[in-house]
């Protein structure tokens, strides 16, 4: 009940706020009374022709997706299901968890991020005040855009009680062009050329030869994967344009239907790392052209590292052998080169007690961030320490 949440906040004790509990190991350990929003799971309104859905944060993601699909719509930012990465069952995520963690899937490269689809919200601030920001229309510049700030804030700025999301038509057809046997600079070039073309590539990834591929792709072969989404005639035309553009650079094959869907779900949900619970897991955001080099630098220092590139090279999923005292932080963050950030997605609490999970901020930015936190949660009771403060 909403009133229970309010009572809990107003009691002034430290709170460990959760949604579906599908990502329990994300962030620093929080000492506080557990408070779940999973009981707030109502769809308040859904108007397909307005492209708007309003729901409570505890709404299970699977229910939400099923509802949207009855109207041919979807969340275009392609939210990952990271439950299995944290040893939880698949399908346990909630809308609130997706928004609070701000994690977008492969579709982010074209469709935008979670924050681009969160239009408004109501939340409880740390001092128990309820505030609303944004709106229930797709175009709105009235007041500060607080929903952007709360998206990805891991519940440290407010407890969301109502979320307005923009939904979009789901593409009727998705196909994936696979370039097999291409790596290094050639792979980076292929990704850049494809994303820089008018083919409207909807997702773009690179999988190295050492990644176990579960039979989804040619074994022990580095691949560039380019997804095209849309109406059938459009996908066909763009596919042929892409094939022409990349002709002669690698062996090509096309995946359609379930094969294409499963491949992207597997990358989206970081399945190769979910299968290896002994690995420490990082997620890096870098300029797309830098991704391949950053991954190589890290593997040169830590040869048993595994990883792949998404977002045209801009996103790196990385698994490092467990047992390193800093979970590889000095190597990983040292490889970033000033433009980007690295989040330690999974590691033992003992390691996370020593290593910042979220990218450390330069002094003035850290000070500003702390001031922002204090203005939303003056006593610091909402997920204290989860984001490092």
């Amino acid at each position: 009940m909403l009133s229970d949440l309010l009572d809990a906040v107003r009691a002034g004790q430290n709170l460990r706020v959760t949604g579906g509990g599908s990502k329990p190991g994300l962030g620093h350990a929080v000492a506080g009374q557990a408070l779940s929003v999973s009981c707030l799971r109502t769809v308040i309104s859904y108007e397909p022709a307005e492209l708007i859905l309003v729901a409570q944060p505890g709404l299970p993601l699977e229910e939400l997706k099923a509802l949207l699909s009855t109207h041919g719509q979807a969340l275009a930012f392609d939210p990952p299901d990271l439950g299995p990465l944290y040893g939880q069952p698949a399908g346990g995520g909630t809308l609130g968890g997706v928004v609070a963690t701000g994690l977008s899937g492969p579709g982010r490269v074209k469709a935008g991020a979670v924050r681009d689809h969160v239009l408004g919200m109501t939340a409880i601030a740390g001092d128990g005040r309820v505030f609303r920001s944004g709106g229930k229309v797709v175009k709105n510049v009235t007041g500060f855009d607080l929903p952007k700030l709360l998206t990805g804030a891991h519940g440290t700025l407010g407890i969301m009680t109502e979320i307005v999301v923009k939904v979009l038509p789901s593409p009727p057809v998705s196909k994936t062009l696979v370039l097999a046997g291409i790596e290094g600079a050639e792979a980076t070039r292929a990704l850049a050329d494809a994303l820089g073309s008018a083919a409207e590539v909807g997702a773009a990834a690179f999988t190295p030869s050492y990644l176990p591929l579960d039979g989804l792709l040619p074994d022990r072969t580095p691949c560039v994967l380019l997804r095209l989404d849309g109406v059938a005639v459009s996908v066909a035309e763009r596919l042929s344009a892409l094939e022409q553009l990349l002709h002669g650079r690698a062996a090509m094959a096309v995946l359609a239907g379930d094969e294409s869907t499963m491949l992207w779900a597997w990358l989206r949900d970081a399945a190769p790392l979910a299968e290896r619970p002994e690995l420490d897991v990082w997620r890096l955001s870098v300029p797309p052209m830098a991704g391949m080099g950053v991954l190589s630098t890290i593997r040169a220092a830590i040869p048993r590292a595994i990883g792949w590139l998404d977002w045209g090279g801009g996103l790196i999923w990385l698994g490092l052998p467990g047992g390193m005292a800093d979970a590889g932080a000095s190597v990983v963050r040292g490889a970033l080169g000033g433009d980007g950030h690295a989040t330690l997605m999974r590691a033992p609490d003992a390691v996370k007690a020593l290593v910042p999970v979220f990218q450390p901020l330069p002094g003035p930015l850290a000070a500003l961030t702390a001031r922002v936190k204090a203005q939303f949660d003056p006593a610091g009771i909402l997920n204290p320490g989860l984001m490092g403060m």
Binding site: E47, P48, A49, E50, L51, G102, R108, A113, R115, D116, F131, R132, S133, G135, K136, V137, V138, K139, N140, V141, T142, G143, D145, L146, K148, L149, G152, A153, L157, P172, A192, S197, A199, E200, G230, V233, S234, A236, E237, R238, S285, P287, P288, M289, W311, G314, D339, H341, A342, T343, F358, Q359, L361, L365, L368, T369, R371, V372, K373, Q375
Partner: protein, 495 residues
């Protein structure tokens, strides 16, 4: 007329000292004489005017930081200003404040096609970015109607939209990073060429913050490859309600057009009289739908849109078969504001957003209000995203008429909020809609926004008096009157 904070006598008394220090920090970049200051006394909401105490024209980030440090140390207010094309008075000067004009930060710093990013100083115009990358077939998607003149820094401050934002998003959705200077003069970098933030999304909340949180000096935007083809469809409807239903049906069919614009009868007539675009005069609503993308997709979808509009009692649609024909369809729409300017001495452009389904109700209630206020309205409408631009026609020379317009405009925006919409879709709150904020937000809603301001600018020196009806907590006190005036940038298209 909205009241502004009362000038602080202490700040005014420091003018000579401030001028000396600013001239040292920004040699040749300070304006102090009354005749030159006059050019900066308004932005494009020219009904409101105010002379600034001083104007500074820094050439780089270091000078911006120096100006802010001086003003912060002396307790002097600062109003940032880009090209001054904003429609909500966000850059209206303060009598006791320094106007920080960013137009000299006009260099394109880097074009990075491989990362699909362009890095520019904040005074670069919106259109200049698209022009700079045109040779390689790229463009910057947000296209506010003032794009030939408006600065990208101003776009960040206002989170500007444009005709194509239904499909490609507004400024916030097309930004990768900014360099921003705080009121203390601290230079911060938010984002870069990578996606998403590693911590709080300060870039997201800076976007659209109307110059209250920081001064943007550098912007990294995402550029996109230009679509292979664009085609438009033009269709008239005898009844507005049918046009509204057709718009909903197009979206419900899973089609997101690049642009979807509606005009009502007075706007159609004004545009047709002005540019003779070939619009039908005997319809209540005109819809322009633009599709872009691969040729096969555009051809398939435009045929589907034609079927939908016909099923919703549209007249036989016209489909553009050439680029010149497509541009001709748009000519009337793009000339709608100046066309309305021809039939009325003055007009005030409103900017509410409503749920699309509320359109017929809002239009009929607005028509009733025309009688009530004795003023006419012409409507243009970004139908795809529900963003209304009612143009209230009036004559500023008639005593009392501006006040009537303000009251009528406020009533329209309250109506937008009442049907589930918002006060402003793309023009910003500024000074214009400031006092209506309590109609959309509760005291607690506004309190939280004000608190965010406190995190960035605890002394409330940066653009005070804008956005929030009252500045309690970190606010200064007092009020003042502002004088009225007229429209600058008469040649800019407004749509």
């Amino acid at each position: 007329m909205p009241t502004m904070p009362t000038p602080d006598p202490a700040a005014l008394s420091k003018r000579a000292d401030l001028l000396r220090r600013l001239r040292e920090a920004v040699p040749g970049g300070v304006i102090a004489d009354e005749a030159s200051l006059r050019a900066y006394d308004t932005d494009a909401l020219s009904a409101y005017r105010q002379m600034p105490m001083l104007v500074t024209l820094p050439r780089n980030t270091a000078e911006v930081a120096a100006i802010l440090r001086i003003c912060h140390a002396m307790g002097v207010k600062v109003v940032p200003r880009g090209a001054g094309t904003g429609l909500s008075g966000g850059a209206l000067p303060l009598a006791d404040g320094v106007l920080l004009v960013l137009t000299k930060l006009s260099r394109i710093l880097e074009i990075d096609y491989d990362n699909r990013a362009v890095v520019v100083q904040s005074g670069v115009t919106n259109l200049a970015i698209s022009q700079a990358v045109d040779e390689r077939g790229f463009y910057y998607a947000p296209d506010p109607s003032s794009q030939i003149a408006c600065s990208i820094g101003g776009n960040v401050a206002e989170n500007s939209g444009g005709v194509h934002c239904l499909k490609y998003g507004v400024t916030a959705n097309n930004l990768l990073g900014i360099e921003v200077v705080t009121m203390e003069g601290e230079v911060l970098r938010l984002g870069g060429k990578h996606l998403d933030s590693g911590h709080y999304d300060l870039l997201g909340v800076m976007t659209g913050s109307e110059g209250l949180l920081g001064v943007v000096t550098e912007v990294t935007v995402r550029i996109r490859p230009k679509p292979a083809l664009a085609r438009a469809l033009l269709v008239g409807f005898d009844r507005t309600v049918d046009a509204g239903d057709a718009v909903a049906a197009i979206i419900a069919a899973g089609i997101i057009p690049a642009g979807m614009e509606m005009m009502d009868r007075p706007a159609i007539h004004a545009a047709e009289d002005f540019v003779k675009a070939g619009y039908p005069r005997d319809v209540d609503a005109l819809l322009i739908v633009e599709l872009d993308g691969p040729a096969a997709e555009v051809d398939a979808l435009i045929a589907q849109v034609a079927t939908i509009t016909t099923a919703h009692h549209g007249r036989p649609p016209r489909l553009s078969n050439s680029e010149s024909e497509r541009l001709a369809f748009w000519a009337g729409r793009k000339a709608a504001f100046p066309a309305v300017g021809r039939i009325s001495p003055d007009y005030m452009c409103m900017d509410g957003t409503i749920p699309r389904k509320a359109l017929p109700e809002v239009l009929s209630r607005m028509a009733a209000m025309e009688g009530e206020y004795g003023l006419r309205v012409a409507n243009v409408f970004h139908a795809g995203d529900g963003n209304l631009h009612p143009l209230i026609l009036f004559d500023a020379n008639k005593p009392g008429e501006l006040e009537k317009v303000e009251a009528f405009g406020a009533a329209i925006l309250r109506l937008c909020v009442a049907v589930g919409g918002v006060l402003t879709g793309e023009h910003g709150v500024g000074i214009e809609k400031r006092d209506l904020m309590p109609d959309q937000f509760t005291a607690d809603d506004l309190e939280q926004q004000t608190r965010l301001k406190c995190a960035f600018d605890p002394d409330s020196l940066l653009n005070p008096g804008k956005l929030f009806p009252t500045l309690h907590r970190c606010a200064d006190s007092g009020w003042m009157q502002v004088a009225g005036g007229r429209l600058p940038f008469p040649d800019l298209p407004r749509f």
